[in-house]
């Protein structure tokens, strides 16, 4: 609490991709949100997440856990996502319980709270088996649906971390805690990220009770675990599990894991591969380029354009195929690459009628403080490039055909979101670009579209999903406008605020 001394050290912790790889090797947690840059780029986070338990281990490195100190209880709260390359300050809060926290500026990201066990050591020497190699059953995370994860669901397994990687991990973060304690943190990550909930998990809290557990400092036992889901909150897709972990001794470690599920948004309305039956031929003969056309709103716009007879070319950072759509894999932030796309369109189709600038970077909450300056600047640069580059490359083609440029903005320009200074500023910037493009190319109809919060991977978080609208509704209305007569100059397409 605030009335106890807080030591805000000048020490910072910064994670690198190699740190994630080492943790993966030590723990066996191969959840792609941490391991795969490609997978993570298609989530709301945009890049690999640092394991929460790795943040907790980094915190332990700032606690002097001498040989005589025993931990009765440990709670690790994974409050906000962590990323590589960000400086997280270490705050120590002395007292009982003892607390170490990683801070992103003024925001806590990981908090480890420890309760010491002041009772005398019982002198028990564990005869547990110390493995010379790892043991875990799962090499890929289990994919469980929300319907499967219900109170009473039980899972069990056997676990041992990789002992060699564990040593490297403890050296890397200067951890003096017992191998047993660190292994339990690794187990928590493996259990949540690989087993229950598995692939869609976002770890929120790990609570470990060691009061019945005795372990020789040098022993890292094979653990048999049994877990049961105790509570599911469908409003937030939050899951609570209780588990017991036993070595070959009879004393058990009690654990409680709390996590969120990231429900899959794969559905006919959200899949980029589903193209509906033709609705009309109103756009037959028209050629459209959708920047970021493989997912979310871009995929829906593509789908509706095709369903009205339009020839659609989509760009996407990830390779992917949509029926009836030519896809170029690359980033619109690369202007030189966009020029090759333009040349290909010119060669194949001879014209461009519609340009839809939909691509935008993933949004992670940021506060306007010193620690976030670089990230906000980088976001602004990338986000504006994703619209500036296509406008600069394609407006002449649109001008030649009297075509239309669509810039997907957001109601956040009118109702700013407190946690998104970078997103709000970037959307306002691209609206400015659209306004000037309309002046410089008056034959082109330039349309700014301001949808409300949409249910896409960009908003697929427990709170982000609340009151988010399906993108198909916006896409349908937009394409209906494109089917109508062109009105050169600047137009604005807005949507009513949700009730």
């Amino acid at each position: 609490m605030r009335d106890t001394p807080v030591t805000a050290s000048k020490v910072v912790v910064r994670f690198a991709p190699e740190d994630l790889d080492l943790f993966r090797d030590a723990s066996g947690d191969r959840n792609p949100i941490h391991c795969s840059a490609d997978y993570a780029s298609r989530t709301v986070y945009g890049e690999r997440l640092v394991y929460g338990a790795l943040g907790a281990i980094a915190c332990l490195g700032h606690i002097d856990l001498g040989p005589d100190m025993r931990i009765a209880k440990l709670v690790a709260d994974f409050q906000r996502p962590m990323f590589c390359g960000v400086d997280y300050a270490v705050h120590r809060i002395e007292g009982s319980p003892f607390c170490v926290r990683l801070m992103d500026g003024g925001l806590p990201v990981v908090t480890v709270t420890l309760w010491k066990d002041s009772s005398p050591r019982k002198g028990f020497e564990s005869t547990g088996v110390c493995q010379s190699h790892s043991y875990w059953k799962l090499s890929e995370p289990v994919c469980r649906t929300e319907e499967e994860i219900q109170p009473g669901l039980r899972v069990s397994g056997r676990y041992h971390c990789d002992p060699t990687a564990l040593v490297h991990l403890c050296d890397r973060w200067a951890v003096s805690a017992t191998a047993s304690l660190v292994q339990t943190l690794l187990w928590g990550s493996y259990f949540t990220g690989m087993d229950l909930p598995g692939r869609s998990a976002l770890f929120f809290r790990l609570s470990l009770d060691f009061s019945d557990h005795q372990a020789n400092d040098d022993t890292c036992e094979v653990l048999d675990y049994e877990a049961v889901v105790t509570k599911v909150d469908p409003r937030l897709s939050q899951v609570r599990c209780q588990a017991t972990l036993k070595g070959t001794t009879s004393q058990a470690i009690k654990a409680e894991c709390m996590s969120f599920l990231r429900p899959s948004l794969d559905s006919p309305n959200n899949s980029a591969t589903e193209i509906s039956q033709p609705l009309s031929n109103d756009l037959a003969g028209k050629v459209a380029l959708v920047i970021g056309g493989n997912r979310g709103l871009g995929a829906e716009i593509t789908r509706f354009l095709v369903s009205h007879g339009c020839t659609v070319i989509a760009t996407s950072r990830s390779p992917g195929a949509q029926n009836g759509v030519t896809t170029f894999s690359g980033s619109a932030a690369d202007a030189a690459w966009l020029q090759t796309v333009r040349d290909a369109i010119q060669k194949q189709h001879g014209k461009l009628d519609f340009l839809v600038c939909n691509a935008f970077p993933a949004i992670n909450p940021l506060r306007m403080e010193f620690n976030a300056i670089e990230r906000i600047q980088a976001y602004l640069q990338q986000a504006t490039a994703l619209v500036l580059n296509p406008l600069c490359v394609f407006m002449e083609m649109l001008d030649a055909s009297g075509g239309r440029a669509v810039i997907v903005s957001s109601t956040a320009t009118q109702r700013p979101v407190k946690e998104w200074p970078h997103y709000v500023a970037a959307k306002k910037a691209i609206e400015g670009l659209a306004e000037v493009a309309a002046l410089q190319y008056p034959r082109v109809q330039t349309m700014i579209v301001r949808p409300n919060k949409l249910l896409t991977e960009m908003t697929n978080t427990p709170m982000g999903r609340q009151n988010a609208e399906p993108p198909s509704r916006v896409a349908s209305k937009l394409v209906d406008h494109l089917r109508g007569p062109a009105q050169p100059g600047l137009t604005l397409l807005e949507f009513p605020e949700p009730a």
């Binding site: 605030r2 409050q79 906000r80 809060i93 607390c99 003024g106 925001l107 908090t111 427990p462 709170m463």
Partner: protein
């Protein structure tokens, strides 16, 4: 402060451990830097555990100050 308020203050201390005890009654989303959507979820969990009730997610957006949360809980507990 009534008993509900004291218990709620305890919840706030869990969610915002850097908040001084004297600052809690006047705490709001505007004054507490760490009070974002993530903290709101944590607070909801802590309050639900403490008061053994289920909060309405739709109400969460409006509960942006200690005062409002306190009033909300007093109303809910009276009904109960």
């Amino acid at each position: 402060m009534d008993d509900t308020g004291k218990r709620l203050a305890g919840c706030f201390q869990v969610v915002f451990p850097d908040l001084r005890e004297a600052e809690i009654p006047s705490a709001s989303q505007q004054t507490v830097a760490a009070w974002d959507s993530v903290a709101a979820i944590t607070m909801m969990n802590v309050i639900e555990d403490e008061f053994a009730l289920q909060m309405d997610l739709d109400d969460l957006a409006d509960l942006d100050s200690f005062e409002k949360v306190h009033a909300y809980l007093q109303k809910r507990l009276q009904v109960a």
